[in-house]
Subunit: 405 residues, 2 copies
Amino acid sequence: MAVNFTVFEDFSVVKGVRIGVAQSAVRYQNRDDMVIFELAEGTEVAGVFTTNAFCAAPVHICRAHLDVAKPRYLLINTGNANAGTGPSGHKNAVRSCDMLAAATGVNAEQILPFSTGVIGEPLNMAAFERGIPAALDNLSEDNWARAGRGIMTTDTLPKGFSKQVEINGTTVTITGLSKGAGMIMPNMATMLGFIATDAAIPAELMQSWCRKLADTSFNRVTIDGDTSTNDSCVLIATGQSSVAISDESSEAAKIMFAALSEVFLLLAQAIVRDGEGATKFVTIDVEGGASQKEALDVAYTVAHSPLVKTAWFASDANWGRILAAVGRSGVQNFDLDKVQIYLNDVQIVEDGGRCDNYTEEKGAAVLAGAEFTVRIILGRGDINERIWTTDLSHDYVTINADYRS
Amino acid sequence: MAVNFTVFEDFSVVKGVRIGVAQSAVRYQNRDDMVIFELAEGTEVAGVFTTNAFCAAPVHICRAHLDVAKPRYLLINTGNANAGTGPSGHKNAVRSCDMLAAATGVNAEQILPFSTGVIGEPLNMAAFERGIPAALDNLSEDNWARAGRGIMTTDTLPKGFSKQVEINGTTVTITGLSKGAGMIMPNMATMLGFIATDAAIPAELMQSWCRKLADTSFNRVTIDGDTSTNDSCVLIATGQSSVAISDESSEAAKIMFAALSEVFLLLAQAIVRDGEGATKFVTIDVEGGASQKEALDVAYTVAHSPLVKTAWFASDANWGRILAAVGRSGVQNFDLDKVQIYLNDVQIVEDGGRCDNYTEEKGAAVLAGAEFTVRIILGRGDINERIWTTDLSHDYVTINADYRS
């Protein structure tokens, strides 16, 4: 029951990227659960990863491999996160890279492994023996849609998007996939995101762009506040089109960055729209903070409040719960009398109290929609922040009380 | 559906405390919703209050009145929190004190007002005109049980406890009430707690004891992480028994403090046991922290994780979610390899990975119980902290999606 979500079907191929998909039975039978990206020689790759102190074995390996080599393959399995698996988990992740390296003739360091699914279970290596050759057998430029389904866990719908822009008269393509519906919270919010373009982007720009793009998209969404051990977001530039970005301040770079931003944001928002049990898609705008930290503290305290989220689920404009959450967000020397709160255009809190011309009917009319914006003006400075989140519904409890069974 | 909760019925009177209870229809009809405590002259009172920056009007007034006078009355209404109500809310709270002062002949500063219930609605002052005389009409030493019901909001059961101890051959009585089931989180965790004794405790000891007692009881429980705007906890010593505590290091003081600790803890735990939708009562022990802050950060991150809480609801020993929550708790330079996690006596995580002799059956056997302890050993220092919390169930969503309707 995703919120205002249309599955994107019309993927544009990205020259230099071929994708193979297979049923390997890592955990579940009879579904695609292993995806291999093959990247053309010369492709630049940058990644940002979870800030969870207990990050999964594949995350450690991705970071290490990115430091020493240019990736030629991404190896992704769903069903098992290979997290909390200790030294044997590390060995299994290394072994999966070795297996793909042997099958393709590249070095193991040129492979980035990604795992998503249940935490703490040993990785089923027989699945890799089955899945790797099967996925390599069907490598194709046209496999984006199938790959989007192949990396799903509790996602109800595959998440992907393509965009083309003209740069210096040449069409540049950006196509990306993301997945994740629970254990979603900033500091690498998505569990997995893969965004590829056929433009050439110099290595020195890739990492800073990937960080900037993630910080305004995947790092600004939250469903349940639970930062995953496996969150990974990868930007891929194959350079197979004739467009090469050089100077960050060039017009071409600006067009490219804006287009990438749009794809990152749509993929990040897709995760929220398909959030576990989500019935609402909520934008939280915090304005007038004295610092970015306090603006984000307010935004996330509201976004994570179970009371606020259950009220949204009930389409109840219970602004008292929002006010209470703002009040406990840890902002020092808070002057309540300066706080204004709006639901879309409807002002509910004026100078810290209920707005005189606010009525329950006006609030209810906004909350009846599947999407709305909560705008909180702090009156303390000029820092604004925006994040996206969902409500907390019965289905969230059902999904997460049943996930392992 | 409170967890292992027996309603306490056998209240001991506290000499010097009389209680009146009335139906005033603050919000709901035909239920007790207004409670007045009358305290004998010479009674010492100390209080600790919410840390929410947007604390309610009555909390402001309680703090101000405690600074300037010795309280003779507590005036409590349920159904409306008088929070987020701006200047008119403040005026209404002052007026309620004035009304009770006029009816009893004390100064308004000798009255402490408490409100609990919905946030942001104007207080219904006609209810105070009805309720105050009605409650004063039935002042009695024996009204503790009825008062416990009279202060309930979403509580399913009244919470109270009495304890008697011998000090220097004389019986000293402690009787207390608490209420609260949602919007429960530390930094004054309970919405309301009133604990009275007939011992004499000197004024200079009262505030430090009240703070210490709250810090190890009400400030160590959490249901949903939502710190209320109205949390208040009051310690009352009437001095009507012949027992007078003087020196904090005396044997008498130690017996008294231990007995008060027990009552505070039982009342705080009762709030968790009756937590909204609670089906589990969970103790979280964090051991071996390098500081109190990091031990509590770990404990609360686990306690507030929707994924951990829904797994508990499902009686699922999904320790991967616990490990992920520990990992995102913000502890710096975390060494995963030193982390041990137990469910009761069953070790599930050993040196950061799954314990060799752990089985799902062992974990499931612990989780099948309505009460269990999650013990997390960090291996970083010698600071231990303990908190109590609940699971996250369908009933939590139902209760909070329906509360205002």
